[in-house]
Amino acid sequence: MKSRTDSELAARVARDIPDGAYVNLGIGKPTHVSAHVPDGREVIYHSENGILGVGPTPAPGQEDCELIDASKRFVTAAPGASYFEQADSFAMMRGGHIDIAVLGAYQVAQNGDLANWATLDDSYPPAVGGAMDLAAGVPTIFVMMRHVSRDGSPKLLERCTYPLTGLGVVSRVYTDLAVLDVTPEGFRLIELTPGNSLDQVQALTGAPILT
């Protein structure tokens, strides 16, 4: 099996971010997408802690300890940025003003259900952050994740078994093995990572893949 590296995966997602888009990048792998947006496209990044227009990581020694993103990383402000408080920041998200959110996931179902905030392990304290607000409010949700979990079990399923983050919200899933759209009929193949066959990927997927 050919598997995209995290960096290749981020670059693949970045290809689908159009010029002028307002984008929220979730915690973890999605934060790497911005580094791969093709030259000539201006993308405006929102971070839910209260900034629109997140710029690149500051040079070492240039960090501003109060200027961070939702992943709590030091960031800069890009030209045209603005700051605002929490209620306004989430109004921006919930109100449908952000075009695209790129999120990680534990599981995605063929009806677009998203599970990315809690597992079935109740001993661990639950934490949701802004995940449910992004899922509910952003019209286009891209999920970026490994095709299967660490124990090899499928993450693309007929129905999620983990607690849901949002219902029917995922538009497209980017994995190391393939890119699939969520359609009214289920997962539809957009492309295979070069070198993989549909049969190979289907075998690692817990729901039918339409072509």
Binding site: S47, E48, N49, G50, I51, D64, C65, E66, L67, I68, D69, A70, K72, A77, Y83, F84, E85, Q86, A87, S89, F90, M93, R94, A118, S123, Y124, P125, P126, A127, V128, G129, G130, A131, M132, D133, A135, A136, G137, P163, L164, T165, G166, L167
Partner: protein, 221 residues
């Protein structure tokens, strides 16, 4: 009008055992570390802490948890890197936890501050966090009815303040501070710069009407 108090200790003096206390900040940005330390010295216990995170390491909310001053946490994301004291108290069953989606947390505070009785939000509809709550489908979309969330006190951090209680914020240190100021019955601010002159009215992030007292604490983390 002069809402300034001379030091952090006098600012937190009104906080009683069992009080609910909103604490501003996200990550380590905009956290009122000075007021939290003063609250520890003050000794109040059995607190309900309402904040986005549940502290990291041995500072801030982490220190309140370590010293066993907190009976309950209402937050969106208690599981930050280094939130060891929260996890320890939680696993030992020593603390109650209410997890609220971050936008719902902010909006519930805003509703309390704005005198609203509740609101229908799409966030969390159909999920475990909506269990037991009233839901409604409006124009084909599912919503959850959420209630206002107020508190006895709010501890805030701002870049500058004036004797009228006006606060000005800086970059992403703004975060939860303004909305918590509106939702608390008694809001207390530490400000990096205390101006004796009024702030420029165009730059005020929290109008003084929402602030009961403020004091200077120049340390930036």
């Amino acid at each position: 009008m002069d809402k300034t108090v001379p030091d952090l200790a006098r600012a937190v003096a009104p906080i009683t055992d069992g009080a609910s206390v909103m604490i501003g900040g996200f990550g380590a940005s905009g956290i009122p570390f000075g007021l939290i330390d003063a609250l520890l010295d003050h000794g109040a216990t059995g607190l309900t802490v309402i904040s986005n995170n549940a502290g990291a390491g041995d500072t801030g909310i982490g220190r309140l948890l370590k010293e066993n001053r907190v009976a309950k946490v209402i937050c969106s994301y208690p599981r930050s890197p280094g939130s060891v004291w929260f996890e320890r108290r939680y696993e030992a069953g020593q603390i109650a936890l209410e997890v609220v989606p971050q936008g719902t947390l902010a909006e519930r505070m805003r509703a309390a501050g704005a005198g609203l009785g509740g609101f229908f939000t799409p966030t969390g509809y159909g999920t475990r966090l909506a269990e037991g709550k009233e839901t409604r489908v409006i124009d084909g979309r599912g919503y959850v009815l959420e209630a206002p969330l107020s508190a006895d006190f709010a501890l805030l951090r701002a870049e500058a303040g004036d004797p009228w209680g006006n606060l000005r914020y800086r970059v992403t240190a703004r975060n939860f501070n303004p909305v918590m100021a509106t939702a608390a019955r008694h809001a207390i601010a530490e400000v990096r710069h205390l101006s004796t002159q009024p702030l420029d009215p165009e730059t005020v992030g929290t109008p003084g009407i929402f602030v009961q007292s403020l004091t200077e604490y120049g340390v930036r983390p």
